[in-house]
Symmetry: C2
Subunit: 263 residues, 2 copies
């Protein structure tokens, strides 16, 4: 099932995708809901980020083929392979939806990259869960773009703006509850041309392992998001670009790229 959060005629609702329609639901996506008779053509609604998370989590360096590149960005001469997940927090305010622009900030050096990823959506409050239990705490999966300013990533003490500037967290278009999380292809196209192609089976730590690990010290809440980490080597975005993150079976997250307006 594909569960979407959307706006139509100024009203925000949840719905289930059926063919080329979204069927509005009543109730909670985390507990119980039922279909209503209200339907909208997909083309006529605005899809929003699928949840309003308390927190967005991501694992540091979770793909071996991203290690050398990321170490170069950070200025580490001897890249370290993490021995357990190394979570960091992506600023909550950066969250944006499919179709919305990624804004290249005025203060940026311009070295802003896409990172196409899969994102787990937490469905139940969980604390101190095992990886097996963690699987049951995840409602489903969607596409995410961990947009990253490489200069700030290198220069700052934390990723607060490198990965947390406004619009740097496109997530969507909807949550798929039926996919196998470690069997997902993650494809990025820049202006229609494939520029990144990863697979979640190559994650150093699986979604279940990351969620379990975080939950040892921090309570995860319904709607919280857990990114997969990025793969390989990326290149810079420029104004006028269109970047798509596709996970076949789930859907496509599409964002145009704009320069920040002055004043």
């Amino acid at each position: 099932m594909k569960i979407a959060r959307f706006r139509s005629n100024g009203r925000i609702a949840y719905g289930v995708i059926q063919g080329d329609e979204v069927v509005e639901i009543r109730g909670s996506i985390y507990t119980r809901f039922r279909m209503t008779d209200t339907k909208f053509p997909i083309q006529e609604v605005t899809f929003l980020p699928p949840t309003e998370p308390t927190e967005m989590w991501a694992p540091g360096l979770n793909f071996a083929n991203h290690l050398e590149f990321a170490a170069g960005v950070l200025g580490d001469e001897n890249p370290t392979v993490p021995v357990h997940p190394e979570p960091w927090i992506k600023a909550r305010g950066a969250l944006t939806g499919t179709g919305e622009p990624i804004i290249l900030p005025i203060g940026s050096s311009g070295d802003v990259h896409y990172e196409g990823e899969a994102v787990a959506i937490i469905g139940k409050t969980c604390r101190r869960v095992t990886p097996e239990e963690a699987t049951k705490c995840i409602l489903g999966y969607t596409c995410g773009n961990d947009v990253s300013d490489r200069t700030w990533q290198h220069d700052d003490w934390t990723f607060w703006r490198a990965k947390g500037a406004d619009t740097f967290a496109p997530v969507g278009p909807w949550i798929d509850t039926d996919v196998d999380p470690q069997k997902l292809e993650m494809i990025v196209r820049l202006n229609g041309k494939e520029v990144q192609h990863g697979h979640t089976e190559d994650m150093l730590f699986s979604f279940a392992e990351i969620v379990s690990y975080i939950s040892q010290q921090v309570t995860l809440r319904p709607g919280d998001m857990v990114f997969s980490g990025s793969t390989g080597v990326t290149v810079a975005l420029k104004p006028g670009d269109v970047v798509e993150v596709e996970i076949p079976g789930i859907g496509i997250l599409t964002n145009p790229v704009e320069a920040e307006a002055v004043g």
Copy 2:
């Protein structure tokens, strides 16, 4: 004026402190509100964290007299004085109120320290504000405890659990809208004995400068919290301790310390 969020008889409300009573208000603390006729004795309500922030921000190393100590914790031989604020994000789920226990996690090495701080509460959505404008975006100030596991702070790549484990962010008891933010004493008492005494006039970057700096890349929202940073040298908490953060003129944030229950 002192504005508090509290629970009474299972109901959550905002109120204004008048003498030894809290007078319930109606409306929004960020826009307009009015007093009601409903009053409670202070002793009979439970004070909650004064807002539900989107994000909690803190500046890395914001007091010169904390520099050497913090560098030792992090294993830096040559501590760096920040040339601009170096914000980091404190995990939102760690937020807790006065009177609630600070829980020492099972997985911790036990080296969990208090850090008594002042906390600015954002009152208006702000983006790209100057320090002068930032002052007008701040509703008021309260007490905070940036509880920190020094072993995790040293070993992990980020502060996700070192400063973000559940209960590691006591904030309260209420927001004071009338204080001079750079003229605040910050006193910590451990079991009644003073163990930390700082002053916000010693902040390397003022609240207005930190808010302005963050707002260049990230939109701050009503209720967001900005910590001052910590001063000096701290010591470890142990089960049974009571830690108080007092800012004279604002109030006292009091938290007992407990070991996490097994199982």
